[in-house]
Amino acid sequence: MATDNENPVADALIPETSGAPLVKIFGAGNAGAKLLGALTTPEFAAAQSAIIDTDASGFAASNATVKIHLENKLLRGLGSGGDPERAKAMAEEQFSTLKSACEGASVVFILAGLGGGAGSGISPILARAAREAGALVLAFVTLPFDCEGNRREAQAQTALEQLKAAADGVVCLPSQKIFKLIDENTSLVETFSFSGGFLIEGVRGVWQLLTRPGLIQVHFADLCGLLRDRHAENVFAFVEATGAGRSREVVEKILAHPLLDEGRALADSEAVLVSLLAGKDLTMAEVNRVMEQVKRQCSHAQIIMGAAVDADLKSKLCVTIIAARQTPASMPVRVEARTGTSNPAGKSDIVIARPSRVRRTGAKAVQTQLPLTIVSKGRFDKSEPTLHHGEDLDVPTFIRRGIPLN
């Protein structure tokens, strides 16, 4: 039902036996397909890409290696109609196809725009399939703008939770935050391509880290160790600067980056990945300066860094940062798991899965809070936050220090 041939998916994605980890990039849903289309730079030529959608209308324009069309007689090829449950049911039906598509890959990137039907429904299932196929799964997703309405927002949040539980890491770009980066006259088309471009930069940062022979190499094992089983929500930023003071400028830009909440995201992250890329004149002092500042910002975090040289960049220095946010240790994660080998399509059991890993810093009796309200600042909720080296001093000290009151 998926495709015309016997088993084209498995054929096209036969694992390569080269030294570098085999990366497969999937675009799920309409937005995913568009993002995949934007990954046109030559460096991605080596990667195998695939589109999965419920609506075949975008397939012709895409040059992806594999195109998986999830369809159902009921829908008559009209797509999922904005309903993630429908898309999910169809993805469950095709679970084995998805799994075989992921077969052989070490890393699977999933690109999707959450909030609609196909992206929200397919991506958690795809993430699970990829994990079962033995790959490290990184999802890069966008969340809808506030103005897109409550329903999409709610669907996006549910999908994000499911995706977090299913994938090793989710890099998420709340589109609303893009507003801070664009000026008022930016057209709608530009805005979408800008937010897509942003996500692409995140993909590229990780990609470079994995594939480019670096001066300071990041091993695939490092990345696995950092991300595997963490189910964390990641935030990322991409900054670049040129000229003499570029390392300083880069650091300033990182600390002022809206996607990193002006540097606050670094302070409460538990793992940080930094990828530096520059022209041939990259000096150790520059690497050191950037890393020192990053380290100072995130004292609790495990840091992985990589540096690489690309002669084309000339005097440009690009830094990609991906920070994994802490999730409250005692929160049970809802995972939709497939129990047994065959599950009727569209039905999935909801189980309370293993609680997310206890943090290395020792299980302190921190007051847990609902994930919805970060930390109430009471009286200072609406005033300008008092930031001191990335720490919000308005949050009660005993909470920041994790001092138990028992």
């Binding site: 009286r379 200072f380 005993f398």
Partner: protein, 408 residues
Amino acid sequence: MFEDSNIVVGLEIGTSKICVVVGEQNAEGALNIIGLGQARSRGVRKGEIINPEQVEEDLRAAVFEAEQMADVEIRSVYLGVSGSHIRGFNNRGMHTVVSAEREISDDDVQDVIKNAKAINLPAENTVVHAVRQHFFVDGHDGVTNPVGMLGARLELDMHVVHGNANRLQNAIRLVRGTQLEVDEIVFNGVASSLALLSGDQKELGALVIDIGGGTTEYVVYSDGAIRHTGVLAVGGDHVSNDLAYGLKVPLSRAEKLKIEHGAAQVTEEARGQTISITNELGLELKRINVEHLQRIMSVRLEELFRLIAQEMEQAGLTDYLRAGVFLCGGGSRVPGIVKLAETVFQMNVTLGHPGAVSGLTNTLEQPEFCAAIGLAKYGSLKNRQRTARPLFTPGGLKQAFGRFLHRS
């Protein structure tokens, strides 16, 4: 005009209270406090105005009270300013003496002051204070008045306090709106240190920490000049907010608990002790563990001191504080705060009292009025300077004109 020129008024629009201090200056220039007015402040957060209407109402009440008490009409005030946007730094200006005999003239001094004031501020910022520290004549340190000395190169270290122009203007406009003239704006930390420190202490080197409701200001003096200033937007409000959050009580109740049972360090008698909160009918609502209360307070205050101590360390000033640390502001009323500060700073800590000011001692010995008293004192010092320098010398005219420009 002549009669009330010896009246100086300090006005502090604080986060928890608005305070007006009326001082009378005698012929020798000494200040005598004759009036005090205060009102609860409702429209200020973290030292900055968030609701001008409420502030105006409270301000009128405070001014009225002070006028009644001092039996004068207040026309102009020295206005205290604070807020996290205020920063201080040191700047050095250089000037080459050109006259043939290499004698440093008054003009040379004015030139070097101008050079030291020429600094790169962000466009939206404006200078609040520019304070002379020391002159250098041909690299020789520690010259306080170089006029008449011989030298080729004259340098000057200056401490510049600057802040966001719009936010400063907000306060000034509000005060002007109540038909009061603003003589000058003064950074609250500078005012507090003026009220607290004697000349000796300024020479020896001292750190003044004013723990207010929404902000904490700190100023370092050494060798008789201001070395360092800063503001942290953390104060008594944060302590109350922490308590409200940690003990799960309303903010007003937390404020009360803080005043009645608070301590800067967990005391022996608090261990295991609980108190009950009752409603207006005397029914018990909740039991509060005093140890928790004091722990929450102590971690917050300790953090505050540590942040300041860190900054002292970074600025390399720790060894210059030979007179020690002086605390003032409402936050310094917390029992045990001196001991806590001593453990953090590892030096002598004193609760400051305004000195060299007479009148109304019983009310003015209270630490929370330090800044307002200091503002009045600042005004009295300015007045003295003004009378000492007649208007119709070139410098005097320039200064008077400068003042005029400064105000607008």
